[in-house]
Symmetry: C2
Subunit: 374 residues, 2 copies
Amino acid sequence: MTSTTVIDDFFAIVPAGGAGTRLWPLSRQGRPKFLHDLTGSGRSLLQATADRLTPVAGADGIVLVTGQRHVAACREQLPALADDAVLAEPLPRDSMAAIGLAAAVLEERHGDVVVGSFAADQVVSGQAAFEQAVREAVVAARAGFVVTIGIAASRPSVAFGYVRSGDPLGLDGAPTALHVRGFTEKPDAATAREYLASGEFRWNAGIFVARTSVLLGHLAEQRPALHAGLREIAAAWDTPARDEVMAAVWPGLEKIAIDHAVAEPVAATGGVAVVPGTFGWDDVGDFNSLAALLPSLDDAGDKVVGGVPGDVVRIETGGTVVVPGSGRVVALLGVDDLVVVDTPDALLVTTRARAQQVKSLVDAVRERGLDDLL
Amino acid sequence: MTSTTVIDDFFAIVPAGGAGTRLWPLSRQGRPKFLHDLTGSGRSLLQATADRLTPVAGADGIVLVTGQRHVAACREQLPALADDAVLAEPLPRDSMAAIGLAAAVLEERHGDVVVGSFAADQVVSGQAAFEQAVREAVVAARAGFVVTIGIAASRPSVAFGYVRSGDPLGLDGAPTALHVRGFTEKPDAATAREYLASGEFRWNAGIFVARTSVLLGHLAEQRPALHAGLREIAAAWDTPARDEVMAAVWPGLEKIAIDHAVAEPVAATGGVAVVPGTFGWDDVGDFNSLAALLPSLDDAGDKVVGGVPGDVVRIETGGTVVVPGSGRVVALLGVDDLVVVDTPDALLVTTRARAQQVKSLVDAVRERGLDDLL
C-alpha cells in the first residue's frame, strides 16, 4: 500500500535550531550541527532532512523555522526553498513557539492542513520505511489525532525521552498506528531496561504530525496566551506589519517544548497516537554516537569524520574518532578510543567515554572569555 | 679555586646538528631541536649553550659547526657570533669530521690551543658546576689527555652511552679528574643497573676537551685519511680556495662519530680522562624526557611547552604534555599522560609511554610522501 506520490495538503515543518554543544568545536553557535555533513554523505543534516521530506511533502511543502543568524546559511544549503518557506526567529522561544508559528502561518495560507515537525539535526536511514511511517501518521492526523512516530529503541538509552503505546487505533490506511498512553522524560538506566523489556516504549524523536486546527486547538486550551500570540503573528506574517508585530509579540511568548505544551497533556486525554518507525534513527548527540554511525577505516575501528583519511596518519591506534577539520595532518600513535577534533581555531582531545561531557568543556571555554570559539 | 675569568687559549666547539626526530612535529629538518626554546627559558637550546660557554670561552671563543641550511637561523639567534665563527657543512659527515674540522681551523688560526665540544641541543642546570668541570677538563687537557665530562647517572638509562672511570689523575687544578677505563654503547636495562651500582659509570654527554695537537694527533694515527682531508680543508678555510677545496674533499670524508674514531681507541691506551660533572644534564631526546624538565601546571601534573597556559583548557586531565604551537586553543577533557603537539601544519597525539616511538610515526609521514612536514 506504499504510495510514491506527494501527500495532498501536507506540509513538513523543519525546526532548525540547537547549537549541538556536545559536538564542539565542530558545531558552533554560528554554524551549528544541522549545517554540517557529519556522516560523510555529501549532504548536511539539514539538506538530508529536506531530501528525506521532499517525496512526501513536495519541494513546495517544506517550511523551515530557524534563527535569524542562520537564514542565509540555510538558504545557501537549500536554494530550492521558496522565499516564504523560511520563518526567521529573532530569538529562540523553544519548539512549541517555532512549530506553532509555522502551523499558524500555514493555516493562514492554506486553511486547515496537516503539518508534521521534523528536526533538522537528525540522521535517518531507510527512506521507504520513513515515508511509510509518515503516510500512516498523516492518515491518523486526518482522523484528529496528534501523531508521533516512535523509534524502535535499539538500546536502553538514557539520552532520549520515550513514548508509551497502547491499543491499535484500527484506522484504515494506518494499520500500525497505536494509541499513546503517555510520554516519559529521559529515564535512568534501570528504568530504560524495563522500558525495552516491556515492548511498549519507543524513543520520542520529536516528530509530531497533526491537522493545524487540531494542534492549535489543543494549544489554545493548554496555553491560551501562547496560542493568541502565535495567531496574532501569523495573521500579520504575510503583510507589511510582520516585523512590527514580531518585535512586539515574539519576545514575550512562553518558552516551552511542544512535548510539555501539547503532547503530554493531550496524551493524558487520549488524543495522541504513535506510528512505530522501522527506520534507523539517531540524533547524533555527541562524538561517540556520531562514531557509531560511521564506517571504520579498518579492523582497528578508527573513524574519520569528513576530511580524507589521507589527512590522518595512524600507528597502533584503535577506536579513535578523528575530525580532521583544519587541513592539517593529524598523526596518531598508540592511542585508543580517543576523540580528536581539529578545527582552524580550536582543538579538542577527549575520550569517547567522555563525549557527553564535552558540554562542560564548552562552559570552561566560555568562562575563559573565549566567546569567539563558541 | 673557582675562577670567574675566561680560560686562556680555550675555544668551545658547538656542533649544531641532529633533526630531533622524536620531537616531531615541533622539531623539523628545517628547524631542528636546537633552534627551539623547549624549556620555556626564553632562550633556544642553541642560545642557552652559547650563554653557558661564554663565561669560560669568551664571546669570541665559540665556534659553531652546522649545516648550510641552518647558518642563517643560527646567526639570527646568536648575532654576537663573528663571521668566521660559523663553519658550514654542505652535508653531514658525523661528529668526528665536524669537531675535527673546527679543531684544525682553530689550530691554523691560533696554534696549539685547547678545544672542547659541546652539543647545541643539550639542557644543563647548574652553571657554576658546569664551569668548574670545564676548567678541570682544560687543566687535564693541557696535560695531554683527551678529557670527557661524565654525567652523574640519575637513573639506569638505556638511552645513553656510558664512560667508565678508573684511578685519579692526581693533577693540580684538576682534583676530581679520573683516568677512563673505557666507553660503552647504550646498555640493556640490567647492565645499566649494574653500571649504576658500581659507581664507576657515568653518562657520556659527548663532551670532549683536548689540545688540538693531541686530538688531531690521535686522529692522524687512528684515521689518517680523515685527518689529512680535514687538514687540507683547514689550510684553505680562510683563503679564497675554501669553497673549491670543501667541494672537492668534504663529500669524501669518512662518516664516523668522535667516540669511535678517537675516544674509544685512545681510552684503550690510557689517553682519556673524565671529570665527573655535578650539574644537571639532559639531551631532551623525546617529549617524555622534555616533560621531566618542565614544571607542572598544578597537582594534576600537566605540562605545557612554550605557548601560554591560557592556550590550554583542561578538565580532569593529568600528566599530559601539551605543546600549543599554532595559536589555537587546545581543549582537553578527561585524558591522562597524553602528548599533544599542535603545530600550524601537523598535529601529534600520542602517549608519554610511546614518546620514543614518535620516530616511527615520522617514518610513516615520510612514506605518505608528506615531505614538507618532515
